[in-house]
Structure formats: structure tokens, C-alpha cells
């Protein structure tokens, strides 16, 4: 019986225990102190967060200890500040004293202690927001601004200096989202400028002690800014008028300087700069007038010399297209130009390509070119001459008479020339020769001999290029020939004889007046002064250009004019003819001068008709 009761009791207890365990009552969890705040540095409040209460009614108690004291006090006021809080009133609050605070949670099953917290009241001050915020619109010289004023929170005693607050306010338009912040320092009033007319503004303010936390923002104050648009409008009118004025001035300036601007932007195309060149005459189509205009009086300038070695220069230009020896429209260029399709005359040419280049400069250049060409025979001859003549040239070049720039046209490669190289070479050889005028020194017989134009213009090729043309042009007329038909308006008071001084590399024939020589040597009484022209009589088999005087058709040479080889009696008289021979023709002197052959209308050599000449 007893056993049964005991068993029943045991079972009941077991059941009860089990039942109790199912409900799981626990001792409370550890609470935590969340924060402590003092609004005016005279009182403060602490809040805590309770943990789980474990299912049982739990009580919380806050205990604190002051610095350097072992006495534990309990929170005096749990209610003033609300739930789970402890309020320390003025009597219990000591500033600059370290408080050690902890909260204890207790229920039937146990107690739990929170972590202790050390606080010094002076560092936990968070004031209330400022009060009595007032906003008003005021005017400053016609421009409105906002005057904001407020008062410190009533609890904070700033009057006694116990607490010092600094303020901050923020402003925004009603329709916007971004606030404009302004730090106001310790003052309780602030002005806001740069308002939008007609806008509605929101203003708020907050405060903070020197070392502490910012308060919450105060309640918002609304203000309407009245319109001041008319004033803005007048300003715009002023701006518009000013800019119009500026624009007018700019336009006027532009108008004044259009001419200069045009020059800047569209520079004028330079025209030809040739003395005596007259477009109008050209347009009129009267070539005579035009060419006569080109002739510059007193050109070339000659220093007064008793030898009257006025230079008479005639030179031929090779023209690709025609065979005529007359002046042609080529001369319209007014210069010593090629009529080659490629040559463009003076501009842009290198120094050696220029027409008006002193011969000596291009000696080396010509040498180079010569190496590429056929006609080594010519080269040899020319070089021979050159060598021999070197003695002369320095003397000569120091003559009184101004030297003309020797013209030559190496006739640069006619790239598109259908001719083969050899013919082009010949073409190259046919260039306008300029004659340097110089005073001839009394020379030796060798010098005299060398002065003949020993010139073979032939090359290996035989055929006459139909397209070549020899043109001549005289700058200065030394004879009646020149007068009649010199396109350049030859007119010279005196005529002179010119003989070949030498031939340079580029097959340039340098002619020198013979008359002076004659005069000096007094060996040629026959030669009239300045009357006779020499014409090309022909080219002898030795590739020497034979010249004769005009009209005679016969030799009239004097002894001194005889060539050195003396094989024929042809005369090499002074002649002002510089011949540019076409590449293929060889001129032989064996032929007597025939009108059809040698003379064109102008008395120039027409090498075109010399096709029957034997080849060199």
C-alpha cells in the first residue's frame, strides 16, 4: 500500500517536473544600457534595453556608484522619463564626476546584470531644440532677405554661462529637397540672402553645446517671399541694351576692316612681276606692242665702256610643239621660258634650273647631269674647252661689262617625253643659251681659238625630232635682223659681234664680243663695228657651228677668226646668235648657206631644214 502511494507520488512529481519544463521559465536575459542623456547639464536620464524576461515577471533595477566611492545607490526615479529609464534629478546629479551605472534584471528564477557603463555628465549633453523660431522678410536697398531669430531651449541656462550653445539653421524652398545649411555660432539671429522672388521657404534651427550632441531640429517655420520681379526685369533690359550696343560697335569695326579681313582670309593671288608686263596689251592681242613694252630701255645696263661691248643676246628656245623659229606666244611669259610642258618658267625652280642663273654656279650641277647623258663626245669636247678656257674665264668675268646671267636650260627630264632618253638628252641640250657679256681680254691665240663655238649639238641619234623647235629671241638687236623681227623689241644703238667664248657643260655657248678683241688686237679691220650679225652658216663636220655674216652668205672672216684647225675657210664671226639646236640635228658647215636652209624670215637658223645634214 505504501509502496503504491510512493509510486503515485513519484509519478506525480515527475509529471509536474515535466510539465514545468515544457513551459521553460528562464532567468532573465542580461539587459543593456542604451544611452544616457542630459538636456541641460543639470539632470540626466539613462535608458536601458531589457532582454528576454524568461517568461516570468521581471523587475529591473538600476544601480550606480560615484567616482571614488563604494556606496551603491539605486536609481531615484524610474518613472519620470518613461519605460525602462532612470531619471537623475538635480540633487543626484554631479558634474565632473564619473558615474558607474548598471542595470539588474530579476525574476523568480534569477538575476541578470548588465554591463556597467561609465559616464560623465558633462559629455552627454544633448539640448532641446531652440524655441520661438521667427522668420521675417526684410529689405536691403530694394533686395529682400530673410531675418531668422530664435531662442535657446528654455531648460538650458545660457544666461548664467553654465552652458554655451552654438546654433545651426537650414533653409529650403518648398518645392525642393535639398537644404541649405548655415552655421550661426553663438548668435541667436541670422540673415539669409539670395532669395528667389515669390518663393515659399522653410526654416529650421538646432543647437549643440561645446562638447556634446546636436539637438533635434526645431519645428519648421514657413515664410513667403514677395515678388520683386520688376526690378529684375529692368536689369534685363539694361543688359539687352548694352549687348546691342556692343554688337553695333563690333559690326561697325568689322565693316571698317573688311578689306583687311579679306586679305587675311582670302589672300590675293600674286600676279606676274615682270617689268613692262602689261596685261591689257596682251589682251588686245597685239604682240608687237606687248613685246615692245617688255623691252626695258637701257637694258642691259652697261657701264660706259669704250669698247662698246653692249651685249647682244639672242637665244633660242626650244619648243616642243612647233618647228617654227619665230617668236611665238611663248614669249608671252615675258621671260626666258621653256615651252616645255613641264617647265614652268622661273617660279619654283631650283637654282640650277633657273633661267637666270649665273653660269658658274651650276657648273658642278651640270657636270652631274652630264654624266647621265649620252654624247660623251660632246662632253669631252666641252670639257676640253672648259679646261682650256678656265684661264680665260676668270679674267673675263672680271670685265667691266656686266655679265648677263647665263641662261641655259638643261631642260630637265621630260618625264612624259615620249622620246627616248637620248632624244631627251638632245632636247636637254637644246636650251636657251645666254650669252655672258664680258670684256674680252686680249688673249692668246689659244684663247681666240677657243672662243669659237666648238659645239656639236649632235648626238647619236639621227632623226630630227619633229616636235622640236628652235626659237630664237633676241634681247638686244645688234643688226637689222633684230630690228625687223625681234619679238622682244630689239633695239640697240650699237651692234657688236659676239664670238663664242666657251661652251660650258650644259652646252651653253658663251659668247663674247669679238669686236673688242678685234679692236685690241687690231687684227680685223674688216669687221665693221656693230653692224653685222653672224648667222649660222652651218655646222662643220667637226661639229662646229659656223657663223657668217648676214647677207653675204660667204665667208668674210678675218684671219683671226679662223678656227684653229684651219681646215676650212669658214668664218666664225662674231655673232650674237646663240643657237639652241634641236637634239637631233647636226649642223654642218659644209653646206653653204642657203636661204631655205639657214634663214628664216628673221634670218635665224632653221635647223629644221637641215635634215639633210649628215649625222655627226
Amino acid at each position: 500500500m505504501m509502496k503504491n502511494v510512493m509510486e503515485v507520488l513519484f509519478l506525480l512529481m515527475l509529471l509536474f517536473t515535466v510539465h514545468a519544463k515544457e513551459k521553460s521559465y528562464n532567468p532573465p536575459e542580461k539587459p543593456a544600457l542604451t544611452r544616457c542623456r542630459s538636456p541641460e547639464k543639470e539632470t540626466f536620464t539613462c535608458w536601458w534595453e531589457p532582454g528576454s524576461d524568461g517568461g516570468l515577471p521581471t523587475t529591473y533595477a538600476l544601480y550606480y556608484r560615484k567616482e571614488n566611492s563604494e556606496t551603491v545607490y539605486e536609481c531615484p526615479d524610474y518613472h519620470t522619463a518613461g519605460e525602462n529609464s532612470c531619471f537623475f534629478n538635480k540633487n543626484d546629479t554631479s558634474i565632473w564626476v564619473n558615474y558607474n551605472i548598471s542595470v539588474v534584471a530579476a525574476n523568480a528564477l534569477g538575476r541578470a546584470f548588465s554591463d556597467p557603463v561609465d559616464i560623465d555628465v558633462v559629455y552627454i549633453v544633448k539640448p532641446n531644440p531652440p524655441e520661438k523660431l521667427k522668420v521675417a522678410v526684410m529689405e536691403d536697398k530694394g533686395w529682400p532677405f530673410l531675418r531668422v531669430s530664435w531662442e535657446p531651449p528654455h531648460k538650458a541656462d545660457t544666461r548664467s554661462g553654465w552652458i554655451t550653445l552654438i546654433y545651426e539653421l537650414r533653409v529650403r524652398l518648398e518645392e525642393e529637397d535639398d537644404w541649405e545649411m548655415h552655421l550661426a555660432g553663438q548668435q541667436k539671429m541670422f540673415n539669409i540672402f539670395s532669395l528667389r522672388s515669390g518663393g515659399k521657404y522653410l526654416v529650421e534651427v538646432r543647437c549643440k553645446p561645446d562638447h556634446g550632441f546636436w539637438s533635434e531640429w526645431s519645428s519648421t517655420s514657413y515664410i513667403n517671399v514677395p515678388d520683386y520681379f520688376p526690378r529684375e526685369k529692368s536689369m534685363w533690359i539694361l543688359v539687352a541694351a548694352f549687348s546691342a550696343f556692343i554688337f553695333l560697335i563690333l559690326t561697325w569695326l568689322l565693316h571698317m576692316n573688311t578689306h583687311r579681313l579679306k586679305h587675311c582670309i582670302l589672300p590675293p593671288v600674286p600676279g606676274p612681276k615682270i617689268k613692262g608686263f602689261d596685261k591689257q596689251l596682251l589682251k588686245n592681242g597685239k604682240s608687237d606692242e606687248f613685246f615692245s613694252a617688255l623691252v626695258v630701255p637701257n637694258f642691259p645696263e652697261a657701264s660706259p665702256s669704250k669698247y662698246e661691248d653692249m651685249l647682244v643676246v639672242e637665244f633660242f628656245e626650244v619648243k616642243e610643239q612647233e618647228l617654227m623659229l619665230e617668236e611665238s606666244n611663248d614669249l608671252l611669259d615675258g621671260g626666258l621660258k621653256y615651252e616645255s610642258s613641264r617647265s614652268d618658267s622661273d617660279s619654283g625652280r631650283g637654282s640650277c634650273d633657273s633661267h637666270t642663273l649665273l653660269l658658274d654656279k651650276c657648273r658642278e650641277a651640270k657636270e652631274e647631269r652630264q654624266t647621265n647623258r649620252d654624247g660623251s663626245l660632246i662632253e669631252k669636247q666641252i670639257r676640253q674647252k672648259d679646261r682650256k678656257e678656265e684661264a680665260i674665264s676668270p679674267d673675263i668675268s672680271s670685265g667691266r661689262v656686266k655679265t648677263w646671267p647665263s641662261l641655259y636650260s638643261p631642260l630637265p627630264q621630260y618625264g612624259s617625253n615620249p622620246l627616248d632618253k637620248q632624244s631627251s638628252l638632245e632636247m636637254a641640250k637644246q636650251h636657251s643659251l645666254s650669252i655672258s657679256s664680258f670684256l674680252t681680254q686680249p688673249g692668246t691665240k689659244d684663247a681666240l681659238g677657243l672662243s669659237y663655238m666648238d659645239f656639236c649639238l649632235s648626238n647619236k641619234q639621227n632623226h630630227v625630232h619633229p616636235q622640236t623647235q628652235v626659237q630664237t629671241r633676241s634681247n638686244v638687236n645688234i643688226s637689222n635682223i633684230g630690228h625687223k623681227h625681234a619679238p622682244a623689241g630689239l633695239h640697240s644703238p650699237t651692234t657688236q659681234y659676239v664670238e663664242v667664248q666657251r661652251v660650258n657643260k650644259e652646252d651653253m655657248v658663251l659668247l663674247q664680243p669679238v669686236l673688242s678683241r678685234c679692236g685690241l688686237i687690231e687684227d680685223c679691220p674688216h669687221l665693221p663695228k656693230g653692224e653685222d650679225y653672224s648667222k649660222v652658216k652651218g655646222v662643220d663636220y667637226d661639229n662646229r657651228l659656223l657663223l657668217q655674216r648676214e647677207g653675204t652668205g660667204e665667208d668674210m672672216c678675218s684671219g683671226m677668226d679662223q678656227e684653229t684647225n684651219g681646215e676650212r675657210g669658214n668664218c666664225y664671226t662674231t655673232s650674237t646668235v646663240s643657237i639652241m639646236q634641236k637634239p637631233t640635228a647636226c649642223i654642218y658647215t659644209v653646206m653653204p648657206i642657203q636661204e631655205g636652209m639657214a634663214l628664216t624670215l628673221n634670218g635665224y637658223v632653221d635647223t629644221a631644214n637641215m635634215g639633210n645634214l649628215p649625222s655627226c
Binding site: 543639470e42 538635480k90 544666461r159 548664467s160 554661462g161 553654465w162 554655451t164 561645446d210 562638447h211
Partner: protein, 226 residues
């Protein structure tokens, strides 16, 4: 001989007439010099104390970050200025009156002169060079400010006495406590008290000084709009 005498006389006369007269110190409002007003003096002093407090606060927080990552609980040690009685709340401070308040301020400042210079020296010699290079400068600055403040407050008290604002009354602190600072702090105490505690104590005391000065100003010159 006569010439020499004449020259000598001239020189003497010139010297006498051209003697430079040094201007007197303008603390008593002599004519011809600008005397700062009490308000200006207070303003200056309060600025100084504010600066002192902010520097010490920075130094303390740096110290805490560098050496004690976790929040440090003040040890059991007392500050060496514990014995100086200071008002711990507003009523007490207002009840104290200007004279005693001034006295408290001066006492506090005097108590900190020496420890701060020792702190500065100690910090410059410390092996924690990364931290101490900048902090020793701050310690030096604090030391200088405290010294200046002492002089400034003395000037203010003199001026207030002159103005009749201050009267000679019984000190707040017992005469025993008004002993020189060395009583509170003996040399070598720095070993027992580490830098951190010292900085903690000074931060608090500088706050006290600042606050007391403000209270003093606002009670003495209420028209300034505190």
C-alpha cells in the same frame, strides 16, 4: 681745450634731451595707450580655455584609440587635484561668488603647471615614437596655454579688484589647500600615474576651468549677453 669742453657739453645736453623714455605698462589706464576692457580680457581668456580643453580632449581620445582600443574604465586612482574643492553643479558654482570662483580657477591652473611639463618631457622620451611625435607637441601646447591662462586670470582678478567688483573674502578652499601645486603633485608621480590617467584628469579639469570662467564672465558682465 675750450672746444673740447663745448663738445662735451653739447653731447651731454643731447643725451639728456634725447633719452628714451619707456612707456609704462598700460594695465592701469594711463593716457596714451589702449587698455583692453574687461570684456576683452574675458573674451581672450575664455578663448584660451576653450582651446586648452579641445586640445586635451583630442589628446586623450588619441591616447585611448592608440593604446586602449576598448573603452577604458577609469582606474581606482584619483586625480591629484582631487583635494581641490570645486563646485560640482550650477547652484554650487553660482553660490560660490566671484572671488572664490576665481580662486578655484587659479588653484586649478596652478596645480597643473608642473605635471603638464613633465608629461611633455615624458612623452617626448617615450618609445612609442609614432604616437608621441605629435602628442608631445600637443602636450607642449597645453602646457603653454595653462601658463598663459594663469597670467591672464591674474590680470583679470587684478582688474576686477581695481574695478571694485572683486573683494577680498575668505577663500573657498581651506587655506591648507591653497598650497603650491607641488603639494598636490610631487615629482616622480608620473611613474605611478600613467599618461592616460593624467590626460583624463586634465581633460576634466580644463573643462572645469572653462566653465568656471564662463560663469564668472556672465555673472560679472551680464550685459554681454551670455
Amino acid at each position: 681745450m675750450k672746444k673740447v669742453l663745448f663738445a662735451a657739453l653739447c653731447l651731454v645736453y643731447l643725451e639728456l634731451s634725447m633719452r628714451v623714455v619707456s612707456a609704462p605698462i598700460c594695465s592701469y589706464g594711463q593716457a596714451g595707450c589702449h587698455v583692453p576692457s574687461l570684456a576683452d580680457l574675458f573674451e581672450r581668456v575664455i578663448q584660451q580655455s576653450s582651446r586648452m580643453h579641445s586640445v586635451s580632449s583630442d589628446l586623450h581620445s588619441e591616447f585611448e584609440q592608440y593604446f586602449f582600443p576598448s573603452k577604458n574604465i577609469m582606474g581606482k586612482r584619483k586625480c591629484h587635484t582631487y583635494d581641490i574643492l570645486t563646485p560640482q553643479d550650477k547652484e554650487n558654482a553660482q553660490r560660490l561668488g566671484r572671488e572664490q570662483l576665481t580662486e578655484v580657477i587659479v588653484t586649478l591652473l596652478r596645480a597643473w603647471g608642473e605635471p603638464l611639463s613633465e608629461l611633455h618631457q615624458s612623452m617626448s622620451q617615450d618609445q612609442h615614437q609614432d604616437f608621441n611625435i605629435y602628442s608631445s607637441n600637443k602636450a607642449l601646447e597645453i602646457s603653454d596655454i595653462v601658463h598663459e591662462l594663469k597670467d591672464g586670470v591674474k590680470i583679470i582678478t587684478d582688474k576686477m579688484r581695481l574695478m571694485g567688483v572683486l573683494s577680498n573674502t575668505v577663500g573657498y578652499n581651506s587655506p591648507e589647500s591653497l598650497v603650491p601645486s607641488s603639494a598636490f603633485y610631487t615629482q616622480g608621480d608620473l611613474d605611478s600615474m600613467d599618461h592616460h590617467d593624467l590626460l583624463y584628469c586634465f581633460r576634466r579639469d580644463s573643462n572645469k576651468v572653462k566653465n568656471y570662467l564662463r560663469v564668472l564672465k556672465c555673472t560679472t558682465l551680464p550685459e554681454l549677453g551670455c
